[in-house]
């Protein structure tokens, strides 16, 4: 059942254009999908795939991360000898902060060398909203004798999120990789999940650093495409690249398609998150809710259409919520209205207040604001 693979969720210098949503939290803990945080998707995928140990390489603003993941109980990672490790950046001196991720991999190398039995590693990010079976990826990796296997997604409709594009040849080998601002013309993007042997990883880390290179994907993988067999594994399921506001809004709204709801949350396994003891949601006699995703603990007296309500949101009498996302404990006062809005946690909209953003530029309210 247990996969011979370690998990790493690498938060170091993760591409983040989320503006106010990451003012006081890291990208990994941005709330998503009514009750989750972005990191839940990758973390649950790893657990469901049978990966017994996962390390999160934290970097900045990770208090929310520590609070959210704790010792991993909610992901069933509270194992003897630990299943979940949150590793803060080592900070010998203040310049360490700006150094590339390979430098931090090196500082965390104990994690790899001490977890003896697992031979393989998957290095991932936290902002890919998906449900992946890494057991299949490892099978593919071994079957095709790859040095590195990159989980990729082929899509006609590009996500507004920032993603690295790859060029794949007929044999499924990656021949070219470019950062999101590159000009490469390809409909395949990297999901930033890299499977390789622990031995190769440690070799790449040390060799790259010795050459003065400190970026895992650009240097340790990208510059080695000619020397190493780097394969693409195409993920079939749904994917959201969530690292800017446009992508956040678009991929949130996609959850209102029942096929995507089912695919993301149940297939191949369930997505876990931190438990809160919210009661079920109450629909008042005057509630009018259609085409929406509603988390627990909401109390709805008004109208909600085409929207996502997180846990504990109150929509008062006569209020109308359209095409909006309201995070935890938000309140929409009587006869207020929202259209194309994203409210961060604990925002209160006063009675009779009307807010309207644009479909391609939603109105964003920061945490705990009273409007």
């Amino acid at each position: 059942m247990k996969l011979p693979m370690l998990g790493v969720i690498n938060l170091i210098h993760e591409a983040d254009e989320m503006g106010q949503l990451t003012a006081n939290r890291c990208l990994a803990t941005v709330p998503f999908g009514g009750r989750y945080r972005l990191i839940d998707f990758t973390l649950s995928s790893m657990v469901n795939s049978g990966i017994p140990k996962v390390a999160v390489f934290a970097h900045t603003k990770f208090r929310s991360l520590m609070d959210h993941v704790g010792t991993g109980t909610y992901w069933d990672l509270h194992r003897r000898g630990n299943g979940l490790f949150v590793l803060p950046p080592s900070m010998e001196d203040q310049t360490d902060f700006g150094k590339g991720d390979l430098y931090h991999f090196y500082r965390h190398r104990d994690y790899f060398t001490r977890s003896s039995p697992q031979e393989y590693v998957v290095i991932s990010r936290s902002h890919m909203v998906c449900n992946v079976d890494f057991a299949k990826v490892l099978d593919d990796h071994l079957e095709r004798g790859a040095d590195i296997t990159v989980v990729c997604k082929k899509s006609d409709e590009p996500s507004p999120g920032l993603a690295r594009k790859v060029l794949v040849n007929g044999a499924g080998r990656i021949t070219e990789m470019q950062d999101h601002y590159g000009r490469l013309n390809s409909d395949i993007i990297s999901m930033e999940m890299y499977v390789l042997s622990k031995e190769l990883l440690l070799d790449l880390v040390e060799t790259s650093l010795a050459r003065g290179q400190d970026h895992f994907v650009r240097h340790a993988v990208g510059s080695m495409l000619g020397h190493l067999k780097v394969n693409a594994y195409l993920h079939e399921g749904t994917l959201g690249v969530v690292n800017n506001i446009a992508a956040y809004y678009r991929h949130s709204m996609q959850l209102l398609q029942p096929d995507i709801w089912r695919d993301l949350f149940f297939n191949p396994g369930p997505i876990y998150t931190k438990i809160k003891d919210e009661p079920p949601t109450r629909y008042n006699s005057s509630a009018d809710v259609t085409h929406s995703l509603i988390a627990n603990g909401c109390d709805i007296e008004g109208a909600v259409h085409n929207s996502i309500l997180f846990r504990g949101v109150k929509v008062r009498k006569g209020a109308i919520v359209r095409n909006s996302i309201i995070m935890q404990n938000g309140v929409v006062g009587e006869n207020g209205s929202l259209e194309n809005c994203i409210l961060d946690k604990e925002v209160e909209i006063r009675p009779l207040q009307h807010l309207r953003g644009a479909e391609n530029l939603p109105f964003l309210a920061i945490k705990r604001k009273v409007i």
């Binding site: 029942p258 369930p270 079920p280 259609t290 995703l293 988390a295």
Partner: protein, 388 residues
Amino acid sequence: MRRNECIAMLLAGGEGRRLGVLTKDLAKPAVHFGGKYRIIDFTLSNCIHSGIETVGVLTQYQPLVLNQYLGIGSPWGLDRREGGMHVLPPYVRSKGGTWYKGTANAIYQNIGFIERYDPEHVLIISGDHIYKMNYDLLLEAHKEKRADATIAVITVPWADASRFGILSVDEDSRVVEFAEKPKKPNSNLASMGVYMFSWPVLREALIRDEADKSSSNDFGKDIIPTLLKEQARLFSYRFNGYWKDVGTIESLWQANMDLLDDEPALHLDDRSWRIFSVNPNRPAQYVAPHAKISSSIVNEGCLVDGEVNRSVLFQGVMAAEGSIIEDSVIMPGAAIGRGARVIRAIVGEGAVVGDGCVVGSIDSEEIAVVGSGETISLKAEMQEVEQV
């Protein structure tokens, strides 16, 4: 070990025969309630909110699901190093063993457990009731009166009084009379089955009761009447909140319906008195473009594509396109098919009401019940008709 001022003993052995197919594999305290909870969640949450961190849970009938559900008490904050929650099934001793004979015998058999904690007071409660109560206030009243035992009471309609244990009290709240299910009640103060005892008094009463071969070893029938006869200091403590014994299909259904008023008598969304439960961890519920939901409670993981009115939907319920659910309780994981209608009914855990089927009726006095795991399909219905 630090001395405990008060520990609780929770009677969770109820068989709940009158809940029929809903308790086939389930002890009554494990029956689902309120869209998310099991009945026992209420008393366990009451304990932790009242500062009682040592709780013995006495199980007997069908404890498998209940034991698994309770675990070591983590969901209720009762997984403590000292004290915490302990499940106490009957067990074989050196001289052989017996099942608990009555509520008093159940406590008698666990005197050893209670003495490990050396409490001053012991709270006796039952896992069958739905209410939010601060037992600490009961304890305060009990101590103030220097009572031997204090019984929590609630005012019931006179018409119902003969279904309860009825107390008559003087101006000082001291109990002067106690009658178990009296035909002609002298009062409408009913015992809630919540007793605060001074432990030495209870301990002695239990030992004497056990020695009395004619006793049925029950708190209401034996222990309380005997103490009263002996002029022990028995007091009543009046509770004014919502309290319900959900012993029948009708009362289970009604207690669920009670939650659906715009201003319900029992608030589940009270952040200072959260009802803790084992959380199912499902995605947010999905409401389809043509769904209608009003005066209802809906839990995580539901997918609603029909009309839901005055109903309670537990986690993972699927209500397909065109289905109608009214005045009903749909237990976890049940599926209601396309165009099916469920009215004045309880649909059990994992049950399936097939496309186009009809369960219950608005005109029926009785609440229709679909048992846990049952499947109702049009074909079966027609076959039944053919057989007639």
